[in-house]
C-alpha cells in the first residue's frame, strides 16, 4: 500500500497530537486528581437526604434530586471543607452542576453517583439542575453556602 508522503505525515502528526492529549489527561488525573465521578453500587442508605459532618473540615452530603428540588436545598459548610457528594434521584433523571467547582453529575434513579470537592473560598455556590426533568426543570436549584452564618 502506497500513500502520498505528505498525507502520511499528516496521519502521523494527528496521532502524535492525540497521544499528547492522552498524556495530558493522565497527567491531570495523577497529579491534580482530576477525574470523572466515581461509581458506587446501589445502596438504599443514600436515598435519605442528609449532611454528615465527619470532622471539622470533612463533610458527607447525601443529595437527593426529585421533581423539582434538591434535598438538602441549602448546605452550610466552613471554608476549606472537603465535601463528598453522594447523589441519586427519587424519580426522573436530573443534573447536578456546581459550575465554579466543576462538579458535574447526573442524578439517576436506582444509582448512586459520587464526587469529592474542596471549597477553599467563601461564597455562595449555585447548584443548577442541567438535565431536563419536566415542566419545573428551570426552577430546580440549590446552594452550597461556604462560611456564612447559619440561617436556621
Amino acid at each position: 500500500m502506497k500513500i502520498d508522503k505528505i498525507e502520511k505525515r499528516v496521519i502521523i502528526t494527528a496521532m502524535c497530537m492525540m497521544g499528547l492529549f492522552v498524556f495530558s489527561l493522565l497527567y491531570a488525573k495523577t497529579k491534580y486528581k482530576s477525574n470523572v465521578p466515581e461509581c458506587l453500587p446501589y445502596d438504599k442508605a443514600y436515598t435519605n437526604p442528609k449532611i454528615n459532618q465527619i470532622d471539622d473540615k470533612t463533610y458527607q452530603v447525601f443529595s437527593v434530586a426529585s421533581m423539582w428540588k434538591f434535598e438538602p436545598a441549602e448546605i452550610y459548610i466552613p471554608v476549606g471543607s472537603e465535601v463528598d457528594f453522594y447523589l441519586t434521584s427519587k424519580d426522573v433523571v436530573h443534573g447536578f452542576n456546581i459550575a465554579e467547582k466543576d462538579v458535574n453529575m447526573m442524578a439517576v434513579s436506582g444509582a448512586i453517583n459520587k464526587t469529592t470537592v474542596k471549597f477553599e473560598k467563601p461564597g455562595v455556590y449555585n447548584i443548577v439542575c442541567h438535565e431536563y426533568c419536566g415542566v419545573g426543570h428551570q426552577n430546580m436549584h440549590a446552594q452550597v453556602i461556604v462560611n456564612y452564618p447559619k440561617a436556621k
Binding site: 492529549f21 488525573k29 482530576s34 470523572v36 426529585s66 443534573g95 452542576n97 458535574n104
Partner: protein, 559 residues
C-alpha cells in the same frame, strides 16, 4: 442517467417532506433562543410549550431530516454509480414505514403527549406512539441496506479487480454503522420502553436504557456526518475545479469510522453513575481514535481545494483561496459545502474538548454542548443536506433554481448566524448555563430570585445568531419550494459530480473489503460495551415507574 418515474417520486418525497417539516423545526430553533434569552418569560408561545418545541426541534432536524436524506442520497448514489436503479418495491416499503413512523411521532409530539426531548430518557414517559414512531422510522431505514448490499455483491462479482467507488463504499459503511447501532435503540424502544409505557411492565432500568441509548447516540452523529463526508470527498473537489488529493485517504477514513463510531458511546456518560472510571477512560481513548479520520479529512479536503485553486490560476501561499468558486450561481453546492467545512473546524475542536474525559466536567450538559453540535450537525451536515436536496431535486426534475444569486448567499448567512449563536452558547456553557432549560422563566428573568446577570450577554448573542439562522433557513425553504412550483425547462437527469483522484492509488485488497473491518468493529464494540453493560448490571438498583412531565408522583400512584 435517466431514471424511472417511480424512482424519482420516492426520492422527491424523501427530500421534500423533511424540508417541509423544517419549517416547524427551524421555527422552534429560533423560539428556543428567544425563550432562553428572557425576551419572553413564559412556558409556551402560540400554544406550543418550550419543551414540546425543543422535542420537535430535535426530532425533526436531527432525526427525521437526516434519516430521510441519508436514505434518499444512498439510493441516488448506488443507482448512479452502478447505473442500475435500486429496487422500487423496497424503496416504497422503506419510505412508507419511515413516513408512518414520522406521522405517529409527530402526532404524539404535537398533541403534547411526548415532550421528552429527542433523547427520550426514561422514566419520563412519552406516548407509546412516540416510541413506535421512532422504531418505524429506524426499521424503514434498514431496508435499503439489504438491497444495496445485494447490488454491491453482484457488482463485485462482475468487477472483482476494480476498486469499489468511494461514494458506494461510504454509503455501505454508513448504513452498516447505522444498522448495528440502531439494534441497541430498537431493543431499548421495543423491549424496554413500549411495554413499560403501556403499563405492561412496572419499572424500567434507567441506567440500562441510557447506556443502550448512547450505544446508538454517538454512532448516530456519524450517520449524520458520513453523507456529508461522501460529498466532501467525491463531489467537492470536482466542483471546486480540481481533484481529490488522495483516494486511499478517503478509504482509510471510512474504515476508521466503521471501527470507532459505535464503541465510543460511553463518553456521553462520563457524568453518569453505574459505569466505572476505567470504562469511561477507555471510551475516551477510543474517541480520540475517531478524531483521527476527521484530521485526515481536514487535510485531504484542504489539499484538494488548494489543488483546485492553483489549477484555477491561484498563486502564492494564500492566492489559491481567492480562485475558488465562492459565489458561483451555477456551482452553488460549493458555497454550501465550504460553509459547512468552516463551521466544522470549530465543531471538531469543541468536540475534542467534550471527549477529553475529566475536561468534560467543565461543560457537560451546559449550553456549550448545543454550541458544539450545532457546528457539526447544523453545520456541515445540515448545509450539505439542504444544498444537495436542492441540487438533486433541480437536476432530477429538470427545473431551474429560483433566485440563484440569493441561493449562493444563504450558506454564508447561515455560517454568520451559527458562529454568533455558538459563540454565545459556548461562552454561556463555560459560565455554567444549562442546556435544555427554559431560562426565561427563572434564570433570565430579572424578577426571579434565581436571576443570573452573567448569562444575559451569552443568551443575547445566541438569540442574535438564532434570528440570523432563522432568516437563512426560511429563505432556503422558500427557494426550495419556489423551485418545486416552477415549470420544467431542462431535461431531467440523475447526475452527481464525480471527482477524479489526484493520487489514485492502486487497489489494495485490504482497503476494498468490508469483512475484516466489520469483524474488527464487532471486536472493539465488545471490548468497550461488555464491561460497560456488566457495570450497569452490577451497580443498578431498582427500576423506575412511569412519570408524566408535570407530576412528581408516578403514574401508577395516580390511578
Amino acid at each position: 442517467m435517466q431514471v424511472s418515474k417511480s424512482f424519482k417520486k420516492v426520492i422527491f418525497l424523501e427530500l421534500a417532506i423533511p424540508v417541509a417539516l423544517l419549517i416547524l423545526g427551524i421555527y422552534h430553533g429560533l423560539m428556543q433562543t428567544i425563550y432562553r434569552s428572557g425576551a419572553i418569560q413564559q412556558t409556551s408561545f402560540a400554544k406550543l410549550d418550550y419543551y414540546q418545541g425543543l422535542t420537535l426541534h430535535g426530532v425533526i432536524n436531527a432525526l427525521v431530516l437526516t434519516t430521510f436524506f441519508a436514505v434518499a442520497f444512498g439510493h441516488v448514489t448506488i443507482t448512479y454509480y452502478f447505473k442500475k436503479e435500486t429496487n422500487k418495491r423496497l424503496m416504497w416499503l422503506s419510505f412508507w414505514l419511515m413516513l408512518s413512523g414520522v406521522v405517529l411521532a409527530a402526532w404524539a409530539m404535537l398533541a403534547g403527549k411526548a415532550s421528552v426531548l429527542y433523547t427520550f430518557y426514561p422514566p419520563l414517559k412519552a406516548h407509546p406512539f412516540f416510541y413506535l414512531g421512532a422504531a418505524l422510522l429506524i426499521v424503514g431505514s434498514w431496508i435499503p441496506l439489504y438491497d444495496w448490499t445485494r447490488m454491491y455483491l453482484k457488482w463485485k462479482k462482475e468487477n472483482p479487480t476494480t476498486k469499489t467507488p468511494l461514494a458506494v463504499l461510504g454509503t455501505l459503511i454508513n448504513f452498516i454503522i447505522w444498522f448495528v447501532c440502531t439494534l441497541a435503540v430498537a431493543y431499548e424502544v421495543l423491549v424496554l420502553l413500549i411495554p413499560w409505557s403501556m403499563g405492561w411492565t412496572k419499572t424500567v432500568n434507567v441506567n440500562l436504557a441510557r447506556t443502550l441509548f448512547w450505544f446508538f447516540g454517538h454512532a448516530l452523529v456519524y450517520f449524520w456526518l458520513l453523507p456529508a463526508y461522501i460529498m466532501f470527498y467525491t463531489i467537492l473537489p470536482k466542483i471546486a475545479g480540481g481533484k481529490l488529493y488522495s483516494d486511499l485517504a478517503g478509504r482509510i477514513t471510512l474504515f476508521l469510522f466503521l471501527i470507532f463510531s459505535i464503541p465510543v458511546g460511553v463518553h456521553h456518560q462520563y457524568s453518569d453513575p453505574t459505569i466505572t472510571q476505567g470504562v469511561k477512560f477507555f471510551s475516551g481513548l477510543l474517541t480520540y481514535g475517531v478524531a483521527i479520520p476527521s484530521f485526515i479529512t481536514a487535510f485531504t479536503i484542504a489539499a484538494s481545494l488548494e489543488y483546485a485553486g492553483r489549477k484555477n490560476g491561484g498563486k502564492g501561499l494564500f492566492g489559491w483561496m481567492v480562485k475558488l468558486p465562492w459565489f458561483d450561481e451555477k456551482n452553488y453546492l460549493f458555497s454550501y459545502f465550504i460553509c459547512g467545512l468552516i463551521l466544522f473546524v470549530f465543531g471538531g475542536v469543541t468536540g475534542i474538548v467534550n471527549a477529553s474525559y475529566s475536561l468534560n466536567k467543565v461543560i457537560h450538559n451546559t449550553a456549550w454542548l448545543p454550541g458544539h453540535f450545532h457546528m457539526t450537525v447544523a453545520g456541515p451536515v445540515f448545509l450539505a443536506i439542504v444544498g444537495m436536496s436542492l441540487y438533486l431535486y433541480a437536476k432530477m426534475s429538470g427545473k431551474k433554481i429560483m433566485w440563484p444569486k440569493l441561493n449562493t448567499i444563504i450558506p454564508y448567512l447561515w455560517v454568520t448566524g451559527m458562529l454568533i449563536f455558538s459563540f454565545g452558547m459556548s461562552w454561556g456553557g463555560l459560565r455554567g448555563e444549562p442546556r435544555r432549560t427554559n431560562l426565561g422563566m427563572t434564570y433570565l428573568n430579572p424578577d426571579s430570585e434565581l436571576f443570573r446577570s452573567d448569562w444575559v450577554p451569552t443568551t443575547m448573542l445566541a438569540m442574535l445568531g438564532g434570528v440570523i439562522m432563522f432568516i437563512a433557513g426560511m429563505l432556503f425553504i422558500i427557494i426550495f419550494f419556489g423551485t418545486i412550483f416552477r415549470k420544467k425547462t431542462n431535461e431531467s437527469v440523475l447526475e452527481i459530480p464525480v471527482s477524479e483522484a489526484y493520487h489514485d492509488e492502486k487497489r489494495t485488497p485490504l482497503f476494498d473489503k468490508l469483512k475484516p473491518w466489520v469483524i474488527t468493529m464487532f471486536i472493539v464494540i465488545l471490548l468497550a460495551y461488555v464491561p460497560a453493560l456488566l457495570n450497569v448490571n452490577k451497580n443498578s438498583g431498582p427500576g423506575a415507574p412511569r412519570y408524566n412531565i408535570d407530576n412528581p408522583v408516578p403514574l401508577e400512584a395516580n390511578q
